[in-house]
Amino acid sequence: MKLQSVAIIGGGHAGDELIGLLREHDFEGDITLFDASTQGPYERPPLSKGFLKGDSSTESLSTRSPAFYDRVRVQLRRGVTVTSVEVSEQGVRIISDQGPALECDAVVVATGMAPRIFDLPGSTASGIHYLQSLEDAVLLRDALPDAASVVVVGGGFIGSESASSMSQRGLNVTLVESGSRLMKRAVSESVSHAFQRQHEAAGVRLMLNSGLASVSSEEGRVVGVETINGEKINADLVVASIGVRPRTEFLDQTGIVLQNGFVIVDEEGRSSHPRVFAAGDVALFPNPRGFGEPTPIPSVDNASWSANIVVRGLLGTSAPEKRPAPTFWTEQYGLQVQIAGLIEPHDHSVIRGNEQGSSFSVMHYFAGKLVAIEAVAAQSDYQAGAKAISSGFTIPPEVAASSDVNLSDFVFSASQGRRSEG
């Protein structure tokens, strides 16, 4: 299939990377980017961090200069939402809420995730915010100077980061989480606890194993919430970070195989239809461990990696041999955890350093193999762990547990040894 035209749906990190990479791989045909946002591709990780704290401007978040889009000859359809896609053996037809339908040879779905919206008594009041897009972040940031207290609902990365940012701005923050600890699906217990200590030290009230029952308002504006335990909390604002779902409804009639809304793709990012690819958060690739169920990997690192894979799939050039360990990170109150690899499933874990202290790592093993590292303010351990996981090398648990061993030296000399053997 010789491609003359490619459409990309979604202007997040994956879509943005795809544009540049297609040209870098000498694709000379037409590229059209459908982006529901009018703001153009922008960096998302700062939205719940520096941007909310007031450290960075909207302009500073742009991933590209205006001249870039001219140079790479991309048709930008900003502020346009794709409503349906028709696929056939001959091509793809994309129908949107504005402008004519677009006929093209292949399409990449990179629409990302939509926030789950509250459906509670009182949840239509003004002062309830979600934090997914730049538009959301601007609305929330601009509401903060007039607010004294905020209830954050949902203690995942975004909820925890926004609680940190707003607390550092001097707001009185309550963080309500349904699970037994913060970021439960992303980090291990020791790491959750390290971050919970930071929140508590900053004066954030953590309400775990809880949730909202209702939102109360006066004259249409939020004044407080009631938890499922019956406690009433005053609040000028509510920030909800209660889950996400893939934005793929427009594929429903295509017959493309989805799983919980995620697009199931092969190693080259190709869906069940050969002209339809997916990248970024919506794409469900084979498990990077090489076995086990496919798992969503919501991160900028994955967006970038999958864009790289999809371009090769589209153009029929060879793919890199092995996927490096997926990486994730969060920063709250200046404390950073860096994660390489997928933590679940694991059957054994080793803590390196003092988990009650300011710097430690957790190494996770499955069937005797090192599968993930979480490094809390431990850059050197992180580098060593990430390198080991990416190259399929296992740091033995007893070595990992010993603070006397410099992991970087250990991994480096092991890789040298393997090279001389091979």
């Binding site: 001249a67 870039f68 690192d301 970038s304 790289n308 890199p320 580098q383 390198k387």
Partner: protein, 107 residues
């Protein structure tokens, strides 16, 4: 402001007038310099913004910090003596005229 040039693996040279305080990696990304990936957004996690600084330009830069040194050991294209991660180079007047070579590959 500083004028900075990138020579990419495809031989193209792009010269950019960059604002103070910006990361060199971000300047490259914003302008679509071929070969710069910057997958982690400049957080020293991915080593995919690898550039090589010609000797005659080294004096414009302060040497890499310890964290960058560690990460440089992980670049896909083997590290050279004058290798840097461009996310750790911050634009200032002192960099005016800087020219770097983008590593042949980043992953």
């Amino acid at each position: 402001m500083a004028s900075v040039s990138f020579t990419s693996p495809d031989g193209s040279v792009i010269t950019i007038e960059a604002a103070d305080g910006e990361k060199l990696m971000k300047v490259a990304k914003q302008n679509g310099v071929p070969g710069i990936v910057g997958a982690c957004g400049g957080n020293l996690q991915c080593a995919t913004c690898h550039v090589i600084v010609p000797s005659e330009h080294l004096a414009k830069l302060s040497p890499p910090e310890a964290d960058e040194q560690l990460k440089l050991a992980e670049t896909a294209y083997p590290r050279e003596e004058n290798s840097r991660l461009s996310c750790q180079i911050i634009i200032s007047d002192a960099l005016d005229g800087l020219s770097v070579v983008v590593a042949p590959y980043q992953r």
